[in-house]
């Protein structure tokens, strides 16, 4: 009852916050790690598809396939970890008020990254990048930093959101 009342007041006019956890509040957050990981997922999917085109696969190809699948899953998991950290540690009430759909967006990123781990469909990788780009654009906007879109200058050369710095 008292908690609900305070919570309502806090939503209208936020109280000061004090940290009690063990994390060092380093305030270093950047969605580029998640974006690069998402691009990597697409790249690994492409390389896996290239192997599929081969008529005959050697033992070395099988070894490469193992590595590609492993790395694809590691990078999809990295997307989840990086986005979760920014969502959980950086985003607070003012940012959620600015972007009220953030919870839904982050949840979609979690689901899509899992789909990327489970399969090799390029559309999953592309969707993941689109969502992470949207998350990155929101993040930079909360910091008052404009963004632009450009093809990343390396494979898979996909549209990526970059901050306009300097």
């Amino acid at each position: 009852m008292i908690y609900s009342l305070l919570n309502t007041i806090n939503r209208i006019k936020p109280f000061s916050t004090a940290d009690a956890h063990c994390d060092i509040p380093c305030k270093i957050y950047d969605p580029q790690i998640a974006q690069i990981a998402a691009l990597s997922v697409i790249r690994f999917i492409d390389l896996i598809q290239e192997l599929e085109q081969k008529e005959q696969r050697t033992l070395a190809d099988h070894a490469t396939l193992s590595r590609l699948v492993r790395e694809k899953e590691i990078h999809a998991a990295k997307v989840k970890e990086e986005v979760r950290t920014i969502w959980g540690d950086y985003f607070k009430q003012p940012q959620f008020e600015q972007f009220p759909d953030t919870h839904e967006l982050v949840h979609q990123i979690m689901l899509t990254a899992s789909a990327c781990k489970q399969g090799i469909g390029r559309e999953s990788g592309e969707k993941l990048l689109t969502l992470v780009n949207e998350f990155a654009a929101s993040f930079w906007q909360t910091k008052g930093v404009d963004t632009y879109k450009a093809d990343c200058p390396y494979p898979p050369q996909m549209q990526t959101v970059y901050p306009k710095l300097g």
Binding site: I2, Y3, L6, N10, F15, S16, T17, A18, D19, A20, H21, C22, I24, P25
Partner: protein, 92 residues
């Protein structure tokens, strides 16, 4: 500060002019490195400075937080309203 204080709890802190802080007080501190933090007083030095400690074993250590001057203490926690427990949910 878990389990004494948990994420989302509300606390009220107060700093009286005359009151002296003592060991085991939970205080809100403006820390030069860690920002506004809430920790427990571990030790009171004769120079009216303090050592802090977190209740959780994985808390930032006393050494990392360093010696805290009295003017860095925003107030002693005098009221604590715990966040109601949410029902446990199974991981997908």
């Amino acid at each position: 500060m878990s389990p004494s204080l948990c994420d989302g709890d509300f606390i009220v802190s107060f700093k009286g002019r005359l009151r002296r802080f003592k060991v085991d007080d939970i205080v809100v501190v403006q820390h030069s490195l860690y920002g506004v933090i809430v920790k427990r007083i571990k030790e009171v030095y004769p120079t009216d400075s303090f050592a802090l400690i977190g209740d959780n074993p994985t808390s930032t250590s006393t050494e990392q937080m360093g010696t805290i001057e009295k003017n860095a203490i925003i107030g002693r926690v005098v009221l604590h309203i715990r966040r109601p427990h949410l029902p446990a949910r199974n991981a997908p």
